[in-house]
């Protein structure tokens, strides 16, 4: 039987996580605008607060207070619904990603993820796929040509790249022989080899570099970020699926995009970069503190969460970094890359991984 304690703790964890995700969005807006400006020899927003850090909040306030205009020609119900349909899966997906290793308090295990589901990574893949409904619904309900084109592009792109992403994950599952995320991270804590006292851990990208490249590319296609932002395609189809949306509805789409990015970064870190495994130097620092008992456990949790957030932060920055470096693909190029290169490569990778496992390499 599930105790009250478990319910309350889960609720608390969910609230903290949603708060965290919502807080990331204005921060990422600021980093996106300021970072892009720096890459283009500009200054970027620097008026609000020190270094302009309140720009994201100002943007949010502006979007909230804008008139919530609904065009005449839209399907009213789906038009209102679609931003939230888009936002919800992106918020749900993060629930299974662990922030730190579980600790024991009075005989009860406290996990640092909202839900330690048995289906683990499959849940993530299932929910991420739902994200396309928000985009599709928004594009269709807008009842305009550009929005429809954006929605069509988005759905075909998401379906194409989900296949390769799934196959990349499959090869990781074969290596880890676990489907839940916490044992996967624990697996990555093992030593791959040791050279001159430096231990190299079994992080996923070292075990499966091809799977990492495929997964990494597919996350960009899944989150509709450059170089795969054809559903938006400002210069071709204006803003694609969220063309007709304004004020808070548009903000919800933005929120969905950024929380999707966060989830993608979290998954990349969990699957390929050792999840909450400590960064080099951090474990040495943790042991040199000389703590023991519960204090040690809590400090360890803090260290692991910090390591996880640093890694996720790096991948969030990579999203911005790549966006302002690479130009957008043409749509036929996207399809070519998805079906002619990524999919065969992912299949081949699964095959080779199976051979290597049979040969006892992993």
């Amino acid at each position: 039987m599930i105790s009250d304690w478990y319910v309350w703790i889960s609720l608390l964890k969910a609230l903290i996580l949603i708060g965290l995700i919502l807080q990331v969005v204005p921060g990422m807006l600021f980093i996106e605008r300021r970072g892009s400006a720096w890459m283009q020899n500009r200054l970027g927003p620097n008026r609000l607060g020190p270094f302009g850090i309140f720009q994201g909040i100002a943007d949010a306030v502006k979007l909230i207070f804008k008139e919530d205009f609904i065009p005449e020609h839209v399907h009213k119900l789906f038009f209102g619904l679609s931003p939230f349909v888009s936002m919800l899966p992106s918020l749900i997906t993060f629930a299974v990603i662990p922030f730190a290793a579980p600790i024991l308090i009075n005989g009860e295990t406290l996990t640092f993820q909202v839900a330690d589901l048995d289906v683990g990574i499959l849940f993530t893949l299932a929910i991420v796929s739902l994200g396309v409904y928000g985009v599709m619904m928004g594009g269709w309900a807008s009842n305009s040509k550009y929005a429809m084109l954006g929605a069509l592009r988005s759905s075909s792109q998401l379906i194409s790249y989900e296949l390769s992403m799934g196959l990349a994950v499959v090869s990781m599952l074969m290596v880890y022989s676990h489907i839940t995320l916490t044992p996967m991270v624990e697996f990555q804590g093992q030593a791959l080899f040791t050279i001159a006292g430096i231990t190299v851990p079994k992080w996923g990208f070292l075990l499966q570099p091809v799977a990492f490249i495929i997964f990494f590319t597919c996350t960009y296609a899944e989150t509709n970020r450059l170089p795969f932002d054809l559903p938006e395609g400002e210069s071709e189809i204006i803003a694609g699926y969220h063309l007709e949306f304004g004020s808070m509805k548009f903000a919800s789409y933005m929120l969905a995009e950024y929380s999707n990015m966060l989830t993608a970064a979290g998954l990349t870190v969990t699957l390929f970069f050792g999840g909450y495994q400590l960064l080099p130097g951090m474990s040495w620092l943790l042991h040199s503190l000389g703590l023991s008992g519960m204090t040690y456990e809590w400090v360890r949790v803090a260290f692991q969460a910090t390591a996880f957030l640093i890694k996720v932060g790096f991948f969030m920055w990579t999203f911005v970094w790549i966006r302002w470096t690479l130009p957008r693909f043409r749509f036929d190029q996207v399809m070519d890359l998805g079906w002619k290169i990524m999919l065969p490569l992912a299949l081949l990778n699964v095959f080779v991984t199976a051979l290597l496992i049979a040969g006892g390499v992993y």
């Binding site: 970072g35 720096w38 890459m39 283009q40 020899n41 500009r42 200054l43 490249i213 970094w321 790549i322 302002w324 470096t325 690479l326």
Partner: protein, 190 residues
């Protein structure tokens, strides 16, 4: 015709080129340098010979212009209109001196043609107005871009100090103190 491009091996491998591009953008972030100016606060340092807003130079409150009509003659944009008048001491002076600033191309030929060093171009470049202005004589008589000693102001810091241009509609009030005036422009005998 379709030409098959044969690129070098490293360029055909997309990932290498991506990494090169990423390094370029990261370099920009690390060695952050801007080519833009925070305009109203920092200004570009232009040459002292910059050709900006016009003014008619005056000495001891009397304008140098003798209405010789050389500048409207030389003006390629035909934007200067002068009507000559005569003072009590038989000296010729411009009774009317209009510059249609929308037509002006800031070539500076009026300044070059002027034998009396009367029409000058200052280094003020903020001339945008919501109206289609024609600069009249009252406006042109303001001694622009010079301090009280008749020198072009010494510039401190990174850029030019803010100089608020005074537009006609901003209210060139009778008796207004002009920071760039040389001599007393208010008590001019006409």
């Amino acid at each position: 015709m379709r030409v098959k491009q044969q690129k070098p091996l490293l360029q055909r491998f997309y990932w290498a080129e991506i990494l090169t591009g990423l390094w370029i953008t990261m370099k920009k972030v690390i060695l952050h340098r801007t080519v833009t100016y925070e305009y109203p606060e920092k200004r570009r340092q232009y040459s002292e010979r910059f050709r900006g807003q016009h003014y008619i130079k005056s000495v001891q409150g009397v304008e140098n212009c003798t209405a010789c009509m050389l500048c409207p003659t030389v003006c390629p944009a035909l934007c200067i209109h002068i009507e000559a008048g005569e003072r009590n001491n038989k000296e010729k002076y411009p009774a009317k001196f209009d510059i249609d600033i929308l037509r002006c191309i800031f070539c500076g030929m009026c300044e070059e043609a002027c034998p009396e060093d009367a029409i000058k171009l200052s280094n003020i470049y903020e001339m945008a107005t919501p109206t289609r202005d024609i600069y009249n004589k009252q406006f042109l008589d303001i001694q622009r871009g010079k301090d009280k000693k008749g020198h072009i102001p010494k510039l401190k810091g990174k850029g030019v100090q803010p100089q608020r241009p005074d537009f006609p509609e901003a209210g060139l009030k009778e008796g207004a103190v002009n920071p760039w005036a040389v001599g007393d422009t208010r008590q001019r005998e006409v």
